[in-house]
Symmetry: C2
Subunit: 324 residues, 2 copies
């Protein structure tokens, strides 16, 4: 069985070795830049770990793992244009470092490259993994579309929000696992259980991200605390607070959202105060635990020895313990 | 054997039937809009005609034909953002009718859909057609990148220009034919000959487009005459003229390119005058004929009866006779 740290090293080495030196450099340089920008490589890790549940030959899954990582970085590249984000992992985003046209086109080329890597995968079930990949890619676009639409809406429901983060974040984690499992030779039932495991871990993970924005420490969270509040982001916390608050508190929330003059510290303090009063933190934590619990139930049912699941359990625990 | 007109009808019907009614509508509506916007459906036609050279069952190639048409429309959608084009085939472009973010994301979704259609193709050589599709898609991006770069360069050579139009336009026509041929059961040699046929027709077609911008009539060309001259586009005509002109004429050309105050009629007349003096029209026509000739040689060598090639010949003649 392979350890997470070793696999991460394999992934980073492979990514490094796949850098493109071909012309036009102006098209491929931003791709290399964006792939070098690190990150935790969670998705390709999931693919390799899922494959490893059923087979010792994880080499066969490395190309698919890279395809998923490249696809993920492509979505970040295009999302950053749409969200007008200037910084990604501490470095200028592609459309800032180069320009918007380069970011659009390099993103497109990057997306094509992800299919190239998928094509390299030696498996009899090639069409099956391509199908999972395609469906998921489309869902990720749908998630981004909903996310953008929600910015201009004030009536986003809890269910709509959960569906949005499922599409934008969870399904790709789920697909990364399922594709790895298929390549490893899993039965359909096990591949589907791993998909559900990933989907629920993804939901827990995204909700935790919402929570850490308010209740985390800058050290472990890695971003400024209160950023979502300042940006009026419709997070789970805000949607839940509006759902549970008194008419008076709702009015307070709305005035914070509308009034652009309130200093940001005051806004963060005010909204956090309402969250505290309504015990939103506990509600979010309960829901995170619930998704985590369902995820573990799914993983338990996967028909391989408990011992083999150690690394996957460890990875998901580490993903969900950034606040502890 | 199937006739062009019948095949065009089949393609349009299929595209109509494949429209997406799924949510979020805001993601899928621009895709439907962009696919409904007509065009001559040349690429899917080429796929069906190439398949038809080797098999009467053209049904098996329809999904791949649609994949190529959707991919083509996706590139137009993203190119229109990059080129800041407001109008496409007489209607507002997607980023004008909606907005830039919608155009980026709907484009991405459209691109994914093209792989979906490719996946539907029932052929044993699925990986092979995916490989051709992927390589070509990447080349088309490279072509667009060069095209954008050339805007800011004044030293683009004839060869660089020809390579750019090959990547941006020709390889997709070539791939459309090759993929159809593979699906129809062609031998590799024949599939490659058809690829080369398409590549050369594509080059001839694009050069003709450059020429018609100056020497066509608005009626048959469908665009304002002199548009490329007004926009300082580095077309074959301009590159050739700069290559052949005297120091004095070169200075004239450069001053037309630099001086933004010259009325556009005067600029068109001035540059056209230099083209006439240098007989650029004849040079371009000769090169078009040359590419056309090579294309026909390639088609001749394809190992099927002459009679079966009638429709392909007719289509390429009609593509290259817009000025007659």
């Amino acid at each position: 069985m392979h350890k997470i740290k070793d696999l991460q090293e394999i992934i980073n080495k492979e990514i490094e070795s796949k850098k493109m030196g071909r012309e036009p450099f102006s098209l491929y340089e931003p791709i290399n830049y964006s792939l070098s920008n690190g990150g935790k490589r969670i998705r390709p890790l999931l693919t390799l770990l899922a494959c490893n549940l059923f087979s010792e030959k994880i080499d066969q899954a490395i190309d698919a793992a890279l395809a998923i990582e490249i696809f993920h970085n492509f979505t970040l590249l295009h999302d950053d244009i749409m969200d007008k984000a200037d910084i990604r992992r501490g470095k200028p985003t592609v459309h800032k470092k180069w320009n918007e046209n380069t970011a659009i086109l390099s993103g497109d080329a990057m997306f094509i490259k992800s299919y190239d890597f998928l094509l390299e995968t030696k498996t009899e079930k090639f069409k099956e993994i391509l199908q999972v990949f395609n469906n998921t890619a489309l869902e990720v676009c749908e998630g981004q579309q909903y996310d953008m639409e929600f910015e201009n809406r004030n009536d986003v429901s809890e269910n709509e929000y959960l569906r949005m983060i499922e599409l934008k974040t969870s399904v790709l984690l789920a697909a990364a696992l399922k594709i790895g499992a298929i390549i490893g030779g899993a039965e359909n039932a096990d591949a589907d259980l791993l998909y559900d495991f990933g989907r629920n871990i993804g939901l827990a993970f995204q909700l935790q991200d919402d929570m850490l924005d308010v209740y985390g420490s800058k050290n472990t969270f890695g971003k400024e605390i209160g950023g979502d509040i300042v940006a009026n982001k419709k997070t789970f916390l805000l949607i839940k607070a509006k759902q549970l608050s008194s008419i008076e508190d709702k009015r307070h929330i709305d005035s914070y959202l509308m009034d652009k003059k309130t200093p940001k510290e005051e806004k963060i303090k005010g909204i956090t105060g309402i969250y505290n009063k309504l015990e939103i933190k506990k509600i979010a934590e309960d829901l995170i635990s619930e998704y985590h619990f369902i995820a573990m139930e799914k993983l338990n049912k996967v028909n391989v020895s408990e011992e083999k699941k150690t690394e996957l359990i460890q990875l998901s625990e580490s993903l969900l313990k950034r606040n502890k």
